[in-house]
Every structure is written in structure tokens, then in C-alpha cells.
């Protein structure tokens, strides 16, 4: 029974990807492109060489962080749509730390930077949390507004106080402060390892600790939890803070490992993708990592596909959006009582047949 459930949960993303590809192929064909060639490029781009495999992992790293952030929040029944802002705020603190702090350097400074990034993200995430528990405000709107404020503030910083010379961007992080590569010749930085570790910690916390259990209980039914004596508000706030902190580390990691400086467009899109990833990954940290990887595969592969075939980039966006549309629809479909009944009917017929024979 459990195995079947897991199978279904894995099948859905796969089927949605296939459906999305089919629609994408039709779209490509409709503008005179060669769909087969396009998809070849896609696979080549994501899997074709070790450099490409590395590219995909690098792309997946920030997505894992925002996905985990969303998963953690969802598990407590709250919507953290502010991952983008928290991601940026984490990076902001990190760039400031990296370029201004004297006396410490090298690996300790990186660690300090990451911790501060987590703190910053946590604080930024706490704002919607506090507003929700004290004033009952809809956390979605507050977090979206804070996203804008964070991004605009970042823009102010890199065109003003933290600007480096001639271009609107900050200084680059010192070489000593860049995250090391896992193996030579690839771009995969240790941030990926950090992401996996965070995923493991989240998994352990949610499913193997009593606090995690209580958090999930609050998420499933906050009224019942309240009657059972769990401090619902405290858990919700904790969910926001931790979720924000995870996104904040994500921002720091991205800064130290890939982008090295803040500039226009840093961190765009990771926040919302994280929410979609969390849902498609069935709110399970392991699922989140896998789905984040899937998204990264799509992005990387689609990029190569676009370059190889000359399609407008909009086609890539459409295919990605379709994956989300189909995957989320698929998960929802499967959870509908009617459909569940259908499955039970199909499988119980099998059992009857077996019994009769």
C-alpha cells in the first residue's frame, strides 16, 4: 500500500513532464521548429557531459533551498511566499560581511557570513509571521510586499553605498571567500553539499523529532492541535523564522558559490519556484530535492535547447509553466476522493480475480 503511494507520487511529476513536453513539441512544430532536435538538445544540455551535469547541480542548489523553505512553512500550514525576499536579504548581509569585516577571513568568515545570512532571512521571514499571529494578517500579501522591498533595497545598495566603480553592482566576494569546488574542472560548489545537508536536517527534524511532529500536527489541523495543548502561534512563528532562515542561507550560498556579487536580477524567480517545487515534491524534503533537481534539469536543458535551435525563450517558460500546471493538477487529481475510489476499485478487482482463481 505504501509502496503504491510512493509510486504514484513519483509517477505524477514524470507524467506531467511528459505531457508538458508533448505540448511543447506541438508548440515548437507549430512555429516550424524541429521538435526532435529540440529535445535532443534538452537532454544533451542537462545530461550530455559531466560539465553539463555539473551545471544542473549548480542550478539546483538555490532551488533546493527555496524549496525546503517552502516545504517547512507548508508543513506548518503557513504560506511563505517571501522566499525571494529572504533569499536576497541573506545575500545582502553576506556581501556586507564579506566586504566590510576586518580581522576574520577565509573559511571562518564564510561560515560567519552564512550564519548571518540565515539570521537575516529568519528575521525577514519573521515579519509576516508576527503580523499573522498578532493581527491575523494574510501572510501571503505581507511576504510578497516584503519581496519587493527587499529587491528594491538591494537595488539601492548596489547602485549606491555598496557600488563598485563603473557598473551598478557590488564588489565581488574575495577569492578566499568563494565556496570551493567539489571536484576540479566542474562548477559544482560546496553549496550543493550544504543544501543536501540542510535537506537532511529538515527531514530529520520533521519526521523524527517531537517538535517536528507537533509542527506537522499544527499544519494538518490547527484546531485539534490547540486543543491538545500545542502552542499553535509559537509553532507558526517558528515555521516562518526557520523557513526564512533556510532561504537566507540559500541566498548566501548563491552569493559565495555562484554569483559572487549582487547585481540586477540576483535571485529572481527562485522564491516562487520553491513553492511549486515544495508542492510537487509532496512536501517531503527528499521529494523537494528531487523535484528541485528536475526543475534544474528543465532549466539547463531548455537553455541549451534554446541556444541550439534558436527558439524564442518564451517557449522554455511555457514548457516549465506547463510542467508545474500538470504536476500540481496531477497531485491534486490523485488526492480527490473520486479518483482514490477509482484506484481502490481497480486494485480490489485485481484482488477479487486472484481470490477467485
Amino acid at each position: 500500500m505504501k509502496l503504491k503511494n510512493i509510486l504514484i507520487k513519483i509517477l505524477i511529476p514524470i507524467i506531467s513532464v511528459i505531457f508538458a513536453f508533448i505540448v511543447g513539441a506541438i508548440l515548437i512544430a507549430s512555429i516550424g521548429g524541429n521538435a526532435e532536435e529540440a529535445f535532443t538538445y534538452l537532454f544533451k544540455g542537462a545530461f550530455g557531459s559531466s560539465a553539463n551535469l555539473g551545471k544542473t547541480l549548480v542550478k539546483a542548489t538555490p532551488l533546493i533551498f527555496t524549496g525546503l523553505a517552502a516545504t517547512f512553512a507548508y508543513r506548518c500550514g503557513v504560506f511563505n511566499l517571501g522566499a525571494e525576499g529572504q533569499f536576497v536579504v541573506g545575500a545582502l548581509i553576506s556581501i556586507w560581511v564579506s566586504t566590510s569585516v576586518e580581522g576574520v577571513s577565509g573559511v571562518p568568515l564564510i561560515i560567519l557570513s552564512l550564519i548571518l545570512g540565515a539570521l537575516a532571512g529568519g528575521i525577514w521571514g519573521a515579519i509576516p509571521g508576527i503580523l499573522k499571529i498578532t493581527r491575523g494578517l494574510n501572510e501571503m500579501i505581507v511576504s510578497i510586499m516584503l519581496n519587493y522591498v527587499a529587491v528594491l533595497f538591494m537595488g539601492y545598495l548596489y547602485t549606491g553605498p555598496l557600488r563598485e566603480g563603473s557598473v551598478p553592482q557590488t564588489e565581488a566576494v574575495n577569492d578566499a571567500l568563494k565556496l570551493g569546488r567539489i571536484y576540479e574542472g566542474s562548477n559544482v560548489h560546496s553549496g550543493f553539499v550544504i543544501a543536501i545537508i540542510v535537506a537532511a536536517i529538515v527531514y530529520y527534524f520533521l519526521f523524527y523529532t517531537s517538535k517536528g511532529f507537533k509542527l506537522r500536527a499544527v499544519g494538518l489541523n490547527d484546531t485539534a492541535s490547540m486543543y491538545n495543548g500545542f502552542s499553535v502561534k509559537k509553532y507558526m512563528l517558528m515555521a516562518f523564522i526557520v523557513s526564512g532562515a533556510i532561504a537566507g542561507i540559500g541566498g548566501s550560498v548563491e552569493l559565495h558559490g555562484m554569483q559572487y556579487r549582487l547585481m540586477s536580477g540576483f535571485g529572481t524567480g527562485y522564491g516562487f519556484d520553491g513553492v511549486a517545487i515544495a508542492l510537487i515534491g509532496q512536501l517531503n524534503p527528499i521529494g523537494t530535492v528531487l523535484v528541485a533537481y528536475l526543475f534544474a534539469v528543465l532549466r539547463t536543458g531548455a537553455n541549451t535547447m534554446q541556444v541550439g535551435t534558436g527558439m524564442p525563450t518564451a517557449v522554455i517558460d511555457i514548457i516549465q509553466a506547463l510542467v508545474i500546471v500538470f504536476a500540481v493538477a496531477g497531485s491534486a487529481l490523485v488526492n480527490l476522493p473520486n479518483v482514490k475510489q477509482l484506484f481502490i476499485n481497480i486494485t480490489s478487482k485485481k484482488q477479487e480475480k486472484v481470490v477467485q482463481e
Binding site: 503580523l131 510578497i144 513553492v275 511549486a276 500546471v325 493538477a329
Partner: protein
């Protein structure tokens, strides 16, 4: 700073406020209908983008901006039907769907624009809807030109506010509609067809959001470019909350945002030393403070955002 106080400046500022508030108002009304029926739709930005493109395209090919607006409404409805089906029938997560639409619809818009118009050294210009001043009223000094010298869509939008208020509060249909967002199960037991009402809400929401987008490219400016919507869909979301889910409140919210935006732009022109990003933050910070100080506990339709399953007992 002395030019702030002269009459011309104020008139221009008010005019600008009304102009900038219109797309926000119409999209906020769209979201209001949707949320009152219990559906949170954050894909408005995307629907507006597609409405903007379709409105522009149809306006360009037919030469008639009104056809553009109509086409924008139709496009909006189509896109929202995807959302509607998945969220109402499949009970999928509304937030994620909204976001998927936000990625999907602008991409489709960009795609169609590029295929149809290709690359040009200056933006293609479509027909611009003409302002229709209301005969007597527009001659009133200052107020006249601020309020009564606009394109018909602006009038339509502001008229929708009292229409919505009357619908929601004084008609039986409106009360049924609201019931769906508050206590769907009770509504169902009273014979109200909940699923149908939700679909109707989505149709109205899609149409209004599409019109809002088309307004941007046929009445406000007469060109389309990727990014023309600039996040107005999200501001609409906060306007609904700000306005406490009431048409009148939403009107005030939209006007406030339009005003803040218009003021912020003019302040930039007046004092080019202040970093513009700090000024640009003003509308969002205003919303936050207003929400923090004026938000009420547990406001909004009680079943807002919750999927409705007929079979659940």
C-alpha cells in the same frame, strides 16, 4: 519644492493618480469577485500580461481599441478557465496555480508578440482609445478635467465600484455569491450551486483582469512590450485586503496606490538626488504599514483559499 504647491502641479498629480489607479482598480475588483467566492487568484499579473498583448494585437489588426478591450477580456477568461478547472474541480493548490499562470501567460504573450511582430527598432504603435469628456461635467475647473475627461474604460471601471457594491450587498444573486465564499457547505445545502458560482466568479475575474491588461496597451499607452504590467497584479492583491474585501474600500486603496505611485515619480523628477529605489519602495511600505495598523483579525471571506469538495462531510 515650491512647484509642488502650484495648481497645475496638483491638477496633473490628480489626473495622473486617476490614470494610474484605473488598472489597479479594475484588477482589484477582479480579485475581489474571485476572493468573495473563496478563490485566491494570484495569477492576475499573468492574465493582465496576456490581456495586454491580445488587446494590443486585436486593436492593431482591427484598428479599433474597443475590439482590443473585448479581446483582452476574452483572453483573460480563457486563461482563468485553466486556473478555474484545476482549482475548482481538482481542488489543487490555488497559490501554485496562480503562480503557474504568472509564468505561463506572460510567456505566451511574449511568444505571440515576437512571432507576429518580429524585431523592430522602435515599438509598434497601435490605436489609442480617445478620451471622451462628459459634456457639462468636464468643464468644471480642476475637478472636471481630472474626473471627467477620460477614456470610457476609466468610466466603466469606476462605475463598476457601485455596481459591485449593489450586486454584493443588495441582490439575492450577490448574497448567494458571497455565501459561497463564507460557508460553502451551508450554501450548498440551501440549494445554491457552489461550483457554478465559483466558475462565474472566475469568469468575471478573468474578464476584468483581461480588460485591465488591455487597458494598459490600448488606452494608457499604445504599445506593447514585455513587462508592461510591472507587478500591478500583485498590488491589486493587497488592495483587496486593504479595502477589506469591499468595493468602496478597494476603490480607496487603488486611489491611494495610484497617488503614491504618481507622487513618487514626481518626487523623483523634483529631486534627482534621492535614490529612486527608496522612493519606489513607498507604495509597498505604505501597504505594509496600513496592513499592520489597520488590518483586522481574520478578515475576509471565511472559506477564502480553501478548496471545496462536495463529497466531504
Amino acid at each position: 519644492m515650491g512647484d509642488i504647491l502650484n495648481a497645475g502641479f496638483i491638477q496633473e498629480l490628480l489626473l495622473s493618480t486617476v490614470r494610474m489607479a484605473t488598472p489597479i482598480l479594475i484588477v482589484s475588483l477582479a480579485e475581489l469577485y474571485s476572493e468573495r467566492a473563496g478563490l485566491v487568484n494570484i495569477g492576475l499579473d499573468g492574465i493582465m500580461a496576456l490581456g495586454a498583448l491580445v488587446g494590443f494585437l486585436v486593436g492593431y489588426t482591427t484598428g479599433n481599441p474597443y475590439m482590443g478591450i473585448l479581446a483582452g477580456a476574452v483572453a483573460g477568461v480563457f486563461v482563468n478557465m485553466i486556473y478555474a478547472f484545476c482549482v475548482i474541480n481538482l481542488c489543487a493548490e490555488q497559490i501554485v496555480y496562480g503562480m503557474a499562470i504568472n509564468i505561463f501567460a506572460p510567456a505566451v504573450a511574449s511568444f505571440i508578440y515576437k512571432i507576429y511582430f518580429g524585431v523592430n527598432s522602435s515599438l509598434i504603435q497601435g490605436p489609442l482609445m480617445e478620451a471622451l469628456p462628459i459634456p457639462l461635467l468636464s468643464s468644471i475647473p480642476i475637478l472636471g478635467s481630472v474626473l471627467f475627461n477620460h477614456t470610457p474604460i476609466v468610466y466603466f471601471t469606476y462605475l463598476m465600484v457601485p455596481v459591485t457594491a449593489i450586486f454584493l450587498n443588495r441582490t439575492k444573486a450577490g448574497l448567494n455569491f458571497k455565501a459561497v465564499g463564507e460557508f460553502p457547505k451551508a450554501a450548498e445545502s440551501l440549494g445554491i450551486h457552489v461550483i457554478r458560482q465559483k466558475y462565474i466568479a472566475c469568469i468575471i475575474c478573468g474578464a476584468l483582469a483581461g480588460i485591465g491588461g488591455a487597458y494598459l496597451t490600448t488606452c494608457y499607452i499604445n504599445t506593447y512590450s514585455d513587462g508592461v504590467v510591472s507587478g500591478r497584479g500583485f498590488i491589486a492583491l493587497s488592495a483587496v485586503i486593504f479595502g477589506r474585501w469591499m468595493p468602496g474600500g478597494v476603490l480607496i486603496a487603488a486611489l491611494l496606490f495610484g497617488f503614491a505611485d504618481a507622487l513618487q515619480l514626481r518626487m523623483q523628477v523634483a529631486s534627482s538626488d534621492t535614490p529612486y529605489q527608496l522612493l519606489a519602495m513607498i507604495p509597498y511600505l505604505c501597504t505594509l504599514f496600513a496592513l499592520a495598523f489597520f488590518g483586522i483579525k481574520k478578515a475576509g471571506p471565511k472559506a477564502n483559499g480553501k478548496p471545496y469538495l462536495r463529497e466531504e462531510r
